[in-house]
Symmetry: C3
Subunit: 269 residues, 3 copies
């Protein structure tokens, strides 16, 4: 695998505007900063248009939903579609809550985000496949996650990054699997949100190919998490997080390329 | 002491819905996750009813109060009372601020929370006892904290967990004291909020006996904090927090039972 | 340099009320607590007046702006001016966003804050000097930061703390430079916000001389950051933050005085 976008993020220092989950907003900002991007957060629809103007990408996270934030999401996304800036959507708990499904449908009416990052329970919602999501957690179901991801990508005509023990990136046709990572991603709240934030940083510097941006963001994050966890005597979620930020700060393209366990699923499988 | 609920939290992985303090929302989510629960946060009254439906307990924290959040608290608590889900209330700074007293009185009109966790300055308010609270800190007063806790429990007909150098759990009759802990709980902002969050996790798996749930939550947290602080060469609040999350992740019932310094105050004392 | 206010903060344990940046609110609270102050956060205009009454200083941060927060800022600042409590303003990204400039102008109509802490891109806005700010980052420009800081102080008749590789404190006439610090302040999101929070703690105990309070806050923070970074085998932003909180907790006036590299710019330079 050639990792080319990481250096581009560091060289271009793109501004990524975030409507963040209040729970993990600090983690997202610090992960974006560590990788080389410049985060900005806003909750004011009044500044949405100019925020999008100065930003190279936006990320939308519905994790701690409240009404004024929805207006901000609508305003930022509308401006981003108009200005053709890429949008990463993180649909936290959409598989478990009808209200969040309603909000997501409102957001999808505007247009389709460039990339959606979620766990199996969240992506199954977009695929229209039955799944027992468990709040913010993936939950369980009988379908193959690859089929879920492809179905969601095909229904929405977008790129899907379905994260779990194996990360799945698909545009509905092509499917890339990344099997790095650590179980600490499940035990540390904020892991998924940070990865969505990193997707924003990578797609910011390569908006023409969000499939590749998603692959590199997922690979970088999974490799960083795996190597941090492996180096810990006992993998534990509290001290994991600051070390993960450290690792994102100094990770190199060569380290990602040499460590990533990536495979492509044949298109007609 | 028999510690039975910790394993139950890990086995059942209950969803705890939180209206959180913006300051410490990340800490609460990660503490709940580390102990084995699944946190979900919401600020949208529109999803209160279904959030309560998927949750096994809710926690309400008034630490960074704003008007839309109050509507969410009302909506979540109303749904929780209807669905008979346990509620943990953390009345941050209620001893210092008349507006927060007014909000708390509005919340109490709905019904009585299952458990209230606060410091002496906060619980003294519910007891109707004079006390000089100091913002978010306990402050100082002349009354015995055990008397304050019992008075509050008796006035409200609920379980009180009054935290301080000694933690006091009471239903107005029975009183349990836990003398573990660390002074770092005072120097790290978020300690009380995390414990309230853990109370939500423990009461979620044992709603029939919130007195026992409060004892086990307080014992688990106090033992974890004490053992982390004791193991530090110099106890310091910044590196304490990630290690505390680590410890909550791997603490065992046996460790709690063997370390806890617990005593019961005779009822007619 | 005589460092006298640090011990005063620890002795008096002042309450500092914050309208915080949602991204870094946890960091600000913990930094204030570590240094010896007692933070309180609020977003409810209804409690602004009594919050100011119990507080010795307030800090206002516009980093994650949303409309209801602006009302809270107005209410807190109005009460603070009436009660003559010092105000520290952190104008995050004001150099990049016209909407934030509009909000800042609304806030300045009330009266002038005691102290404004920002990077070159933010302070250049107040100075009316051209500068290419980059979102939350300083960006770049051709003017000398000392000239920018003095111009801002003179236009607003207030104290300016312009932070960067060299921190500049000025009242428009006197200029103090502090050249301690670490590049990790740039790679850790929240560094500037924490320093603004510390300014609140220092000015709370010495409201008669905000120039001196700003110098001591900046010196304490820069020395702490520098010594933490120097002690790290490889300076990295994730593990830097918890250690910085540790250091703020145990830093002594003697350590600050012995480490600070401070110079005064002659007035007629």
């Amino acid at each position: 695998m050639v990792v080319s976008l990481l250096e581009k993020v560091r060289a271009l220092n793109p501004i990524v505007a975030n409507v963040a989950n209040g729970v993990t907003i600090d983690q997202v900002a610090n992960a974006q900063n560590a990788i080389g991007a410049s985060p900005i957060m806003s909750n004011a629809p009044e500044e949405a248009e100019e925020i999008v103007t100065i930003a190279q990408a936006i990320t939308i996270n519905i994790g701690s939903l409240w009404a004024p934030q929805i207006q901000e999401m609508m305003a930022l996304m509308t401006a981003a579609y108009q200005q053709q800036k890429p949008i990463v959507l993180d649909p936290v708990a959409v598989g478990s809550l009808a209200y969040r499904q309603q909000i997501i449908e409102q957001l999808l009416i505007l247009d389709t985000p460039t990339l959606i990052r979620g766990n199996a329970g969240e992506i199954a919602y977009f695929a229209g496949i039955d799944w027992q999501a468990n709040g913010i957690d993936a939950g369980h179901g009988n379908s193959n996650p690859v089929i879920i991801a492809k179905a969601a990508a095909n229904r929405l005509h977008t790129i899907i990054l379905l994260t779990g023990p194996t990360d799945i990136i698909t545009d509905g046709q092509r499917v890339t699997l990344i099997s790095n990572g650590t179980s600490l991603f499940q035990t540390h709240v904020g892991s998924g949100d940070m990865l969505s934030g990193l997707c924003g940083a990578f797609v910011a510097v390569h908006p023409a190919d969000p499939y590749q941006a998603a692959i590199e963001a997922a690979a970088t994050f999974a490799v960083a998490g795996e190597l941090v966890a492996t180096a810990m005597e006992t993998p534990l979620p509290g001290t994991f997080y600051p070390q993960l930020i450290d690792y994102l700060f100094h990770i190199t393209p060569a380290k990602v390329a040499n460590t990533v366990q990536l495979s492509e699923v044949p298109t007609h499988e």
